[in-house]
Symmetry: C2
Subunit: 200 residues, 2 copies
Amino acid sequence: MSAVLPSAVVSLINELRKLPGVGEKTATRYVLNLMLRGPEGVEALSEALASVSAQVTPCRECGFLADGELCVLCLDELRDPSVICVIEGIADLVSFEKIGEFRGRYHILGGAISALRGIGPDKLRIAELVNRVKAGGIKEVIVATSADAEGETTALYIRKTLEPYGVRVTRPATGIPMGSSIEFLDAVTLMRALKGRKEL
Amino acid sequence: MSAVLPSAVVSLINELRKLPGVGEKTATRYVLNLMLRGPEGVEALSEALASVSAQVTPCRECGFLADGELCVLCLDELRDPSVICVIEGIADLVSFEKIGEFRGRYHILGGAISALRGIGPDKLRIAELVNRVKAGGIKEVIVATSADAEGETTALYIRKTLEPYGVRVTRPATGIPMGSSIEFLDAVTLMRALKGRKEL
């Protein structure tokens, strides 16, 4: 198909294919839809991207998306600065903010420790976390990395690294997710849920 | 959620939401994925869009996407210039080219006649089609507009408009689509399929 399309259109399709869950068919559909709207459609999206690229930088403190030096969350005086929730990526912050329950600050690692993918602690924002704890005023660090091997390794590493500073390091509970039946649950989750059982 | 995101990011999410089948959740996922790749990810897509906007224009002859005055298909000497396939939009051309059966030229109308949406024949590229026929050398015009009320109206209008020029005007067969069972077929399709029956 791409043989009949102008090369600039093919390049755009290839760029869009890098998005999660977007294949050639969806990317082509997006491009044709953009073209249908005339030059304005393409330009509006191009300009929106350019604005993001020019204006948005990682927050110096937590690593989230920011307009300036600090993000909205780190600037928010109403949020508790003594509790830091450590997460792997931006998307995790979005999930936490959706529930609206957590009112502390965040710290984005930018991934998890992975021997397989060659990601050591030095490639993550762990030194920055230690600096925040060192600076004082932090009572608790909630390590909300994923509940998989890499996330667990990262959590243990952070607990060990923060040990000298006398700060409380916690981890969200693991257990049976709401709406799931025992029958189809994996053994590790079931074992952890059983170990962590509470009075009814 | 959008309250914590920088305004440029929110604008980008809103632009992406205009794409077909993309809601707030998918758009947010796309943007976070772009941001993960660092500034390069956003810039690469922005530049790809800018290139399309700067380089791609409708083909003067058929209305398809072109790098210059004429598109690849209109420049292709191997394609039969005496047969024109009239279609509603760019996506229809993509579908036809996928089967690779048609080796003539195309003519994109830019829609179909619709009283409901206020689209008259003057808003479509019908005058351009007449000019192509007038210029001579055309033996057949295949009107491959959609098989719905608007597409049928458009096809009949084109047949009538081209009558004075003595050109053959045809329409693709309507009938039972492959893989469908008679049981669930609508009455109009079944009736047309019956009328158009052939010797086995």
